[in-house]
Symmetry: C2
Subunit: 203 residues, 2 copies
């Protein structure tokens, strides 16, 4: 086990807690000499396998979660305003992530992830809307038609499906989900444990 | 809103995260001039209403949770060893809580809560086993037959049911669950947010 091995970070574009975590994981990792490997995935795929549902799918838990998303963001110092439409389908945004990763490199894909998450959760851009997603791509410096061709490309679809399958095989059932030195951490609220792990090692 | 209003703390005897929280909530509250009102409840009752299931009822999430229970306990400095039989039925332990609360006072009920939670999660005592529960009652200084009569008493059963119904009406869907100045916090992992709330007020 290499003490400086990268942190694997699974996120879903539609997950508010993933968005919050995306805003602190890089700086935290860097403080401890680690890099982060970002994995865009679809929670819907893991939910099918595990029979888990979104926290907002349950009475009582929904009301609490909607409140907790924004409170947890304020606690982390991250701007978040829950979009009117939630949750939304984010497979196209995720396919763009892997398209960029495979053709322009991981750094460009991560930049897109940040851009997309912030667009949805800080500015209310609907990533499930083709028109809004095309506009966002253009704003990010992509050719909108090329991006749309990519998210409709069967190869790109298969790529995301393979990522989802691999995530499930690795034990991932929710997001954000981190794997550090083989140890799994689920949730934005595992941040204190992750900090201790990075600082002092296994506990 | 009174700045020194008590913290309401809902717990289930069968919940490892409730056990961990039970070990820090009193000291944390006291540091901020607050008292804690403990409420023994049955998660099973809230699960019926909300269709939520235990985290250990799902593939993948079960394996993660079993690992996270013990890791989260180590992180909090609380001794925890997951019992062989888990989860277990804890309505009798909860009825003893309310019986003591109503006949001997809240402090005695809280002492029982600590005793029962520690017995289950640090020593592996099976609270769902009548013989083991009677022994635990005797160890705690109760007359075992009186305790057994209490948990079989229709009035005590109705008392616990009323507590569960009131918890659900208050929006409680999981445990541990805290209400502070009207603000709901769910989970042992909301400790940092609770600390900030007590220290600096609403955020």
């Amino acid at each position: 086990m290499n003490a400086a091995s990268p942190i694997t970070f699974y996120f879903d574009f539609s997950s508010p807690y993933s968005y919050i975590a995306s805003e602190w994981i890089e700086a935290l990792a860097a403080r401890h000499g680690r890099t982060v490997q970002w994995h865009a995935m679809l929670l819907g795929a893991t939910f099918q396998v595990t029979e888990i549902r979104s926290p907002v799918a349950y009475p009582l838990k929904r009301e609490y979660s909607m409140r907790d998303f924004e409170r947890s963001a304020r606690f982390a110092g991250v701007p978040l305003k829950m979009p009117a439409k939630f949750p939304i389908a984010t497979q196209n945004a995720a396919r763009i992530f892997w398209w960029l990763n495979d053709t322009a490199g991981a750094a460009r894909a991560v930049a897109w992830a940040r851009h997309g998450l912030r667009a949805l959760f800080a500015r209310g851009v609907d990533l499930s809307d083709i028109g809004e997603l095309r506009e966002l791509c253009a704003e990010f410096g992509l050719e909108a038609s090329a991006a749309e061709a990519a998210w409709n490309d069967p190869q790109r679809k298969a790529r995301l499906k393979a990522v989802n399958d691999a995530a499930i095989a690795a034990g991932v059932f929710g997001a954000p989900f981190f794997v550090i030195d083989g140890e799994p951490f689920w949730g934005n609220d595992r941040r204190p444990q992750i900090e201790r792990w990075l600082e002092k090692g296994p506990f």
